[in-house]
Amino acid sequence: MEHLRSITLLGSDGQPFEPRIERVLVHLVSRLRREFPALQDEVTLTEVMEEAGRRIRAREQRGGALERLHGYAWVTIRSVATSKMRLGSTRLIQHTVGPDVADARLATAPSKLNTAEDIERRLLVRELLSRLSKEERLTCLWKQAGFSSQEIADHQGRTVESVDTMFSRAKQKLRRALEGDRNDAAAPIAPSSRQPSDPTRG
């Protein structure tokens, strides 16, 4: 981490990232080390961070400054790191840890899955989604995928207006639910937002 703090992360054009992006990336290095213990060498960590930085920069160039940069950055880093882990060279590193070390690590590693917080968060998230009908969820997903209201209407044998109404209704339901939970401070949903693509609005 000290190493990454001392070097400048570069984009594909060889230029440093904007300071706010750089700051967030450097801040997340320790979390990356913690959650991806196989990625320990500085070169790999730097590669992951630079690739994540490039994706973030590309996203901001298309859609403007990200409102939740920290959350978006972590999701991006995690995605890049996961891809990295699938590479043969990294798999080799994963398999070269000695049995004693592996046993010790396994014995002390905290579970990253299904902690009480994870379970609580997922229950809340599922509860939020359950407030939408299946049709509303699918419509939202299709919109997220970039289909226009016209395409959805044609598929469902509806009018464009009724699709838009359904989408608005879903939006209102979810927003009310989210705001309610946020106001109650009872929904620790990590802001791991990914900026959606900009689907054609129909």
Binding site: V125, R126, L129, R137, L141, A145, K171, R194, Q195, S197
Partner: protein, 79 residues
């Protein structure tokens, strides 16, 4: 101005939806998961709306995240 606000509201909603679908359904055993090719076809909108793959995305956060990543990659390539 109203259109601008509406656009912001849509974007915000899509972000919220992304957060929810990325997290809601861990599916650790990857039951019924889609192949990379199927996810790519969905991300590229080459599959019809009635494709059952879309329903799977509502039930599997891992596939949903990968689907969104492929969309990002496609957008990056196009930009």
């Amino acid at each position: 101005m109203a259109d601008h606000r509406s656009g912001d509201s849509d974007r915000k909603f899509r972000q919220d939806l992304d957060e929810l679908l990325s997290d809601a359904n861990p599916n650790p055993d990857r039951i019924g998961c889609l192949s990379q090719a199927s996810l790519k076809a969905l991300a590229d909108r080459r599959q019809p709306l009635g494709d059952p793959g879309y329903e799977h995305l509502l039930q599997c956060s891992a596939c949903y995240r990968e689907f969104r990543r492929l969309q990002d990659d496609r957008d990056n390539e196009q930009s």
